[in-house]
Amino acid sequence: MSGIVCAIRGGPDSQATIARAIGLAKDTKLPLYFLYVVNLDFLSRTSSSRVHTISREMGQMGEFILLTAQAKAASEDIPAQGIIRHGDVGEEIVDLCHEIQADYLVLGRPQVQEEESIFTHDLLQEFIERTEEQTNAKVVLPDGGGE
């Protein structure tokens, strides 16, 4: 297996990332996988007993976000799969890259990020280096940011 993994979370900032991934798929003819990771860390500051229900709802929301990306790819004649994972964003991205032996990983960089995550400026470079080392996938960032 081989392919391109594009991790997204939706929103206007993701459009550049999605476009970059579609462009890369066109150029390389590799299969494209859009990934959305359901992460419930935000519940740690509030009620946490709704994990089962909210996880399902977030999963459905993620599918919806992936559908928008897939629709955009389809409009450019690029077939793409949508994959939903639950858990830590960084770990799930690496796991999927391993599973499909990805050649490329397309990542974005949120323009607004108040909480620290792997996509914040300080940690992103470290994550890129670690992922390339662990998975052999080349990490691609869209021009001008995106997510």
Binding site: I8, R9, G10, G11, P12, D13, S14, V38, N39, F42, L43, S44, R45, T46, S47, S48, S49, R50, H52, T53, I54, E57, M58, Q60, M61, E63, F64, I65, L67, T68, A71, P110, V112, Q113, E114, E115, E147
Partner: protein
Amino acid sequence: MSKSIRKWSLFAFLLGASLVLALAGQGTRAQDQPMSPVVSGTVQDSQSQPVEGATAQLRLAPEGKVLAEATTQANGRYALPAPTEIPDRLFVQISRAHFEDQVVELSATDMRELRNGESVAMPGTTLPRRITAAFWIATSIFVAMLVLIATGTLHNTLAALLGASLVFFVSYLGEPLSENLFIFGFDRALHYVDWNVIFLIMGMMIVIAVVERTGIFQWLAYMAYRLSGGRLWLLLPILMTVTGVASALLDNVTTMLLMTPITIQISLALGINPLALLMPEVMASNVVGISTLIGTPTNILIGSFANISFNDFLVNLTPGVLLAMVGLILYNEFVYRKEILAPGNEEISPLLLEKLEERAQITQPGHLLKAGVVGAGMIALFVFGEQIHLLPAVTALMGATALLVWIRPDIEEMIEAVDWTTLVFFITLFVVVGGIQEVGLISFIATGIGDLVGENLILAMFVVTWFSAVLSTVIANIPFTAAMLPVIGYLTATIPGAGNKVLFYCLSVGSAMGGNGSLIGASANMVTAGIAERAGHPITYAYFIKKGFPALILTVSLAMVWLLIRFLVLAG
């Protein structure tokens, strides 16, 4: 333990708890027959509130032999049996931690009555407060807990648990070193835990857990979309109304946890900015939630403390909430006018709409029907139960039990659905707040506010409402409300015309609607922002204040207008 044993254990527990609470609700405990002759009296603090747990001693001299000893009851009363042989002089000494000791000598008339075998009623004794090291420690623990919660350094429950543990740690390990380090003991701490609140929240959690799995929220949101035909100016008030009504019957956090993902999906299908719907929804949730007793934890606290019923909230607060809601809808139509007036997305994906419709299904119609029947019964009991002194907690527990017996869900899932961390939060919060009550901080705050507002009820209404609203934007409103209850109780007892409990409604309005002032003002805001951020539409602190703070001013002002009309004009 097998599943069936666990299941029936939970049913038995809920049933038992219902019975215990029902019996407690009767409140017709037989009074102890007074012994004769006795020396009796009452003890109160400087706010004229009865002091419970004070030691009253009958002595031969101020430092002399103790002839009899008793502890004051919840109403501050004590009764000391007189000795069989009456000496020349007798003294009553009252002592209690965190108060100055008081010694009162029995008058010549009292002594004569005792010698004639008659009981003596002493004049009320007022105990002045004494500030000790325990005062500063309990206050520091409370403030630290608020800071830890506000900054998100620790989970709410962990912060309150840490606070309660520190109170006990200082009390038990510090007392041997100095009695001034003693805050209160475990038994005394339990007096401050309001079990009516705990069981009401627990019962409602079980009901909500059943309802949230039926798909009703998703269906309602989709119906809102269908009804509006995708026109944002119409969709916005419909979704606000759906969210508001749901928040009045369920809790705000659950409502927003379920409404936010489906709202984002509708927004994606329509090609609009989800924040134009999410912000109005969460603001409506914070505003309309207070229209019923069970809509917010703060109302549950207020209702239990001040004995304000489900009907009282409906009659005295709901019209004000509706007024605020109308203002909030118009405000949001104005604030999001650009999104509303923007030309519709002409490329609405049929695939997305199809998916939306597919998901907007009632997944458990049978459960929804049963939950509807039980829910209607619960509402009826909330409304009419007051006539038979039925506590709301009993209604909630009976409703939860009925639903579980009728539906027979997976009991493991139901146990998981009860938010035990929240229940522990409330129990430990009561302990920490009890600590500051015990050492006198609440009394000092009450006296300070009392001095500020004097006997002016209108000024008191403004101060309580706006003080609560502004503070709720920066500190968690549940611990704030819990701490303010005795303060409001004092103001209600001392300000002429406040006996109708209007200041408690002011506290309800301020603490809940104040949540709209900032992102950290309410838990519902935080979960909405958390989900929106994970859909690529972050709600920043600045964005929330920009949209939310004007809404706070508008809605609190409108609710305030209603309270003034209701309690000053209509009440004559």
